[in-house]
């Protein structure tokens, strides 16, 4: 990043993309996320790990305000994206989600053609002026999703007719088609077989060059393979956050060590 804005450079010396300060999430009476502070860097893969129900997915969904769709969910504290609080009243979640794309646990292509799956986002955001523009975006996105060669001859075929791994890469391509700056991935490989998983993991590593990637995963091996930073959540708390290598080899918190060595979770 060659950011010359002086004020931000003082604050974001380490190229911080997202910064959460005292983030609390409540589901009705349940306190699901307790006082989480985390800083997510640009051009980095950050992994959220932790046992089931620890709040890692909930926190991920806070980052693009997908929790807004749940009536009883309430978020407190600050989450800054490029220094702007995304929970500010002036922020429209629709604009935010164009900037912060998301890939879900289960591949969920639209029941439309492969082309329309990719073209939908650019269309609603007005990114393409003509059909030719749109064709370029679709091809570029499918290439970035590492699926172009497999589907280039059948762009008009339904996206739901692809295999699970192809569908997930299609969803990733769909997410990058709107030119987001951050890509959130909620256990993107949990429904995939090992071969498809390794394809998606390679893809994540490539995406790092252009986006800030946040991935929630149950597999510690996956976190170790793809991420540079790792955050360990437990019972709604952010227990430890640091370099992936350090978390896996030399955790400072005993709970992290227990989880990584398989004693809890």
């Amino acid at each position: 990043m060659n950011d010359m804005r002086p004020l931000e450079r003082i604050v974001d010396t380490d190229n911080i993309k997202i910064s959460a300060k005292g983030c609390q999430v409540y589901y009705g009476e349940t306190h699901a996320i307790k006082d989480v502070d985390v800083q997510i860097e640009d051009n980095t893969v950050t992994a959220f790990i932790g046992p089931s129900g620890c709040g890692k997915s909930t926190f991920l969904r806070c980052l693009n305000r997908m929790n807004d769709t749940i009536d009883i969910c309430r978020v407190e504290g600050e989450i800054l994206l490029d220094g702007e609080n995304i929970y500010d009243k002036k922020v429209d979640p629709v604009q935010l989600r164009a900037k912060v794309g998301m890939v879900f646990q289960k591949p969920n292509p639209f029941p439309k053609s492969i082309y329309d799956n990719i073209a939908y986002g650019p269309r609603i955001h007005g990114l393409a002026k003509s059909k030719a523009d749109l064709d370029v975006i679709v091809e570029k996105s499918l290439r970035r999703g590492a699926i172009w060669d497999e589907v280039k001859d059948r762009l008009d075929k339904p996206g739901t007719g692809l295999s699970g791994g192809q569908q997930q890469r299609l969803c990733i391509a769909r997410a990058v088609a709107t030119e987001p700056e951050v890509l959130l991935m909620d256990e993107p490989c949990s429904a995939l077989d090992p071969i498809a998983t390794s394809q998606v993991e390679e893809l994540i590593d490539e995406l790092r060059t252009q986006y800030s990637v946040v991935i929630v995963t149950h597999s510690m091996q996956q976190a170790a393979r793809v991420s540079q930073k790792t955050a360990f959540f437990h019972l709604g708390n952010l227990v430890e956050f640091g370099e992936t290598g350090q978390i896996f080899t030399n955790p400072t918190d005993p709970r992290t060590e227990s989880y990584i060595s398989g004693r809890i979770g």
Partner: protein
């Protein structure tokens, strides 16, 4: 110790022998299947009986007995008929006179008895007069007329009236049937398909032969247009709002419960509500298909809302997440992705609601859409909404309540017409569902 281990491996008996418990369970399952089969067989049996009796009783309504005659009326005769008080009766007399002279030429019925001929004929005067008023040029020219025989003569051909069971009355005496037989042999009385029943309008209580269901089919058509145009957009919009946008709180809970309750409100309640609100308060015209459509819209809305909400609910939430995830607004997510997937269910629910409304009778009676109102065809498309008319089920009800047995037959025929329309609507529902159901 060794025994215990051996027993542990032999806790169950041989697989080739069925133990008593398994046998009982299998027997229970077989009994349950038998009950189910019996229930279905009983249902099919009743359906067949119903269909058979409807067709047997209703099909005769589609044929009618007619008297054919070539008439030649002079201008003087017309003037004389028009100058009297009972004009249609004078035309009937003209017809009887000409038929009588033709019978005499062919040697039918011996001495001509105008009263006997009058008993054989249906209500012909009105039709004759209407014809000559519409075609003044035909006066003095030979014209072929085909007019209805009386309902009792019609009944004689359909087996409703028999020689043995006939009680001499001013409507028909036993000797008339001999004349009828001779006229039939001469080819003057014939049976033919009754287009008048399908295309005509209701007739007076003394003229079952002239009654048709056409006008009330149009009444039903205009009502269904009103119901479709109002209930589909309102119902779908309400369901989308309640299902996708409304906050879940006490207020929406109350609305939800009340919509379900409305679906169970007896239709006559909607009828009296329509009478009070649309006719007495809003001063809309009585007996108008517009008002009938409004009342049926109220009745159909809960059905449409319930089925639309069910089909919106059935769309997987992952599709909504996917759309929101790429930055679609909530409305875009609903209209671009959820609604197309829910469309088959919405269409099915709508058509079922319309079919229900098509067969509804009670509320129509309360707002004045009774059968005898359907005496005239609407004069134009827009007039069709406000001019007094009836609807198919109300027409059938009115016919069934009339004293002349011939009307009872018409009621059965009307039911066949109504059922054909319902079957067509259900077929459309199936075709539309097949076409839109692309779950890729």
């Amino acid at each position: 110790m060794a025994d215990a281990t051996a027993n542990a491996h032999k806790r169950h008996g041989s697989l080739t022998q069925v133990d008593p418990r398994t046998r009982r369970r299998n027997a229970a399952e077989a009994r349950f299947k038998a009950y189910g089969l019996a229930a279905i067989a009983l249902g099919i049996f009743f359906l067949v009986v119903l269909a058979f009796s409807i067709i047997r009783s209703g099909v005769p309504a589609f044929t009618t007995t007619v008297v054919s005659l070539e008439m030649n009326v002079s201008p003087a005769e017309i003037d004389q008929a028009e100058s009297g008080m009972l004009k249609t009766a004078a035309y009937t007399k003209l017809f009887i006179a000409q038929l009588g002279s033709q019978m005499q030429e062919q040697g039918i019925g011996g001495e001509v008895d105008p009263e006997a001929i009058g008993r054989i004929l249906g209500k012909v005067g009105n039709d004759l007069r209407a014809f000559y008023q519409a075609n003044p040029d035909a006066v003095g020219e030979p014209v072929d007329f085909t007019v209805n025989a009386s309902s009792r003569v019609d009944g004689y051909f359909k087996g409703r009236v028999t020689r043995e069971g006939l009680v001499d009355s001013r409507f028909l005496v036993a000797t008339d049937l001999d004349v009828v037989d001779q006229l039939t042999e001469a080819g003057i009385i014939t049976r033919q398909f009754d287009w008048g029943f399908l295309l005509g309008k209701d007739a007076g209580v003394d003229n079952p032969g002239g009654a048709g269901i056409g006008a009330s089919v149009l009444g039903s058509f205009f009502m269904m247009l009103v119901v479709l145009v109002l209930s589909l957009p309102i119902g779908v919009a309400a369901s989308i709002y309640l299902e996708e946008f409304a906050p879940k709180n006490r207020f929406t809970d109350i609305i939800e419960v009340n919509i379900s309750n409305l679906a169970a409100v007896p239709s006559i309640v909607f009828g009296i509500l329509g009478l009070a609100v649309f006719i007495q308060f809003a001063s809309l015209p009585q007996s108008a298909p517009l008002v009938g459509g409004l009342v049926l819209t109220l009745m159909t809305l809960p059905t449409i809302i319930i089925s639309t909400r069910a089909s919106l609910k059935a769309v997987p939430p992952s599709i909504r997440d996917a759309a929101l995830g790429v930055g679609a607004s909530k409305m875009q997510a609903v209209f671009h992705h959820v609604l197309p997937l829910a469309a088959p269910g919405i269409l099915t629910g709508t058509i079922i609601g319309l079919a229900q409304a098509l067969g509804e009778t009670a509320p129509l009676l309360l707002i004045g859409m009774v059968g005898f109102v359907a005496r005239e065809f609407p004069t134009g498309f827009w007039d069709g909404f406000v001019e007094p008319n009836s609807a198919m089920p109300a027409q059938i009800y009115t016919w069934a309540a009339r004293s002349d047995v011939a009307f009872y037959e018409k009621a059965w025929g009307g039911i066949i017409v109504l059922l054909v329309f319902l079957l067509i609507m259900n077929a459309i529902a199936i075709v539309l569902r097949r076409r839109f159901e692309r779950r890729w």
